[in-house]
């Protein structure tokens, strides 16, 4: 009941949009080499499901590894930065600088620094992109310790490590997940777009460009749909993990 109420409006909008799209293409006689109809994309998706699945697995693996590595790094650096004040002062503006860079454009350089036959460069790009939101949010969480909790732990004569383990980390958890949520779909985009610039031709990105180069737009969009679904899976998985990790939270996404 509650689910239906939440799911209905987006569902209706989605169905309406797809119907409108289909009608525009078929009634407006728009050639498939300009904009393919949803039905054509669907047919391709069904036909290519094996390829879409395999490409999604390849891109998904890169995105996942990049996400895990970037998130782990983000949390670790945030922990270090929260312990040493000067490090915070340096790292915050520096992370902001890093975030302002068009990192995707780093891909060709990373390909040269590592090797374009491995997936390391694109995983690295993903990790760098993921790093920022996780780092910033975690650091904020770690620094925003409730002063009462601080005094309480002092009153209990708790040491630094105990304090970090029992208060700082669990207190920062909601923030970590806020960062992860943002990072999850970013990771997929980054992994797919990085395929643009080199590396193994196994993922969704190279499939999309390859199909698009042959004006096989329905096929290209079938792979795009795969990318969207992959992003959604990442996002929802993070949401689920968040639920599981924080049973005390009654509401998600404050």
């Amino acid at each position: 009941m509650k689910w239906a109420r939440a799911a209905l409006p987006p569902l209706i909008v989605g169905v309406l949009a797809i119907v409108a799209w289909e009608l525009t293409v078929s009634l407006g006689r728009i050639a498939p080499f300009i904009l393919p109809a949803p039905s054509a994309i669907w047919n391709e998706l069904v036909e290519q499901r094996q390829n879409v699945w395999e490409a999604a697995l390849a891109s998904g693996e890169n995105a996942l590894i990049g996400l895990v590595a970037g998130a782990a790094l983000g949390v670790l650096v945030a922990m270090a930065a929260s312990r040493f004040k000067p490090l915070t002062e340096v790292s915050i503006p520096f992370a902001a600088v890093l975030n302002a860079l068009p990192i995707i454009a780093l891909a060709p350089i990373l390909n040269n620094m590592f090797e374009s036959t491995s997936s390391i460069p694109r995983r690295l790009v993903t990790a760098i992109i993921v790093f920022f939101p996780v780092f910033v949010n975690t650091l904020r969480g770690l620094r925003e310790v409730n002063p009462i909790h601080q005094e309480l732990m002092h009153a209990y004569a708790a040491g630094g490590w105990t304090f970090a383990r029992k208060v700082r980390l669990p207190g920062a958890l909601p923030y970590v997940f806020t960062g992860l949520r943002q990072a999850s779909s970013l990771a997929v985009i980054a992994a797919v777009v990085a395929e643009y610039f080199g590396g193994l031709q196994t993922g969704l990105g190279s499939r999309i460009t390859s199909a698009a180069a042959f004006t096989a737009y329905p096929r290209a969009w079938a792979f795009v749909a795969g990318a969207c679904l992959l992003g959604l899976v990442f996002y929802l998985t993070t949401l689920l993990l968040e639920r599981l990790a924080m049973p005390w939270r009654t509401r998600l996404i404050a």
Partner: protein, 273 residues
């Protein structure tokens, strides 16, 4: 033995800087074993500072603080006191039971032991049925009861409370006051209790210590001896007399006398939210 001895204590924050504040000046205070002492005074007079000195959360600029016959630092390390604040300050990621267990955990008690003790404390504050709940599922009053149970968990000889009922509505507040009195009587705990409410101070205390601001000092110490500490007590003339006495002691402070607003506008700088 004396539960707390504060002698000639001065506390100056930010010494030598432009924003130096003399929070406490030459304060002496003794709390006898089993005694319930309230600290009352205008905002910024140093009540919390005094409490935190006793808890060894901050150190005095001059003077000494003794808790249960030993230095405040030693007392803290031995968890010789329990403490509670205006905000319950529960750990939202722990269940009610595990919140109460926390100080026991840090004392290194075994799992079984601390569970037993925590359950006992929850029973004391009447929340045994909520052990598995998370704080967010409780009302403000219930949260504050959990905080009290947590403060009592290590069965400390001394209880320090900084406006623990400040955020509650008056009716819940009165109920918790009665419960607190019952618990203190049962456990024989000495208590230092900071409050803004005259009636609360009078109802709870054996002695109300009145403070004044800038610099913070003790201006009066009023012994209270109500016929009974229950609803009847709240309606006794002795109760109303003491309320008037404390109010006058508060009004009598020079700061309040000079101008009706001066203390507040002066506070604007430090007290702003």
């Amino acid at each position: 033995m004396t539960a707390v001895v504060v002698s000639s204590v001065t506390k100056i924050f930010n010494r030598g800087r432009t924003d130096e504040v003399a929070a406490l000046s030459d304060v002496d205070l003794e709390v006898r074993d089993g005694e319930f002492v309230s600290l009352i005074g205008p905002s910024g007079c140093g009540k919390s500072t005094l409490l935190r000195l006793i808890a060894d959360l901050i150190e005095p600029s001059t003077g000494t603080v003794t808790v249960a016959g030993q230095g405040a630092a030693k007392a803290r390390k031995e968890q010789a006191y329990g403490i509670a604040f205006q905000q319950a300050g529960l750990f939202e990621w722990r269940t009610v039971l595990r919140n109460v267990e926390l100080p026991l955990e840090l004392r290194g008690l075994s799992k079984r032991e601390r569970k037993a003790r925590a359950e006992q404390m929850l029973a004391l504050v009447g929340l045994e049925d909520f052990a598995g709940h998370y704080p967010a599922q409780l009302s403000g009053g219930m949260q504050q009861r959990v905080a009290i149970a947590r403060a009592l968990a290590v069965q400390p000889p001394l209880l320090l409370m900084d406006e623990p009922f400040g955020a509650l509505d008056e009716m819940t507040r009165e109920r918790l006051q009665s419960e607190l009195l019952g618990i203190c009587a049962k456990t024989g705990t000495s208590t230092v209790f900071v409050t803004h409410s005259i009636s609360e101070a009078v109802f709870l205390s054996n002695r109300v210590v009145v403070m004044s601001a800038r610099p913070g000092r003790i201006t009066a110490s009023i012994e209270v001896d109500l016929p009974s500490r229950d609803d009847a007590g709240r309606q006794s003339p002795a109760y109303f007399d003491k309320i008037t006495e404390v109010r006058q002691a508060l009004r009598g402070t020079p700061a309040a006398a000079s101008s009706p607003r001066s203390s507040e506008s002066a506070a604007a700088g430090t007290d702003a939210r």
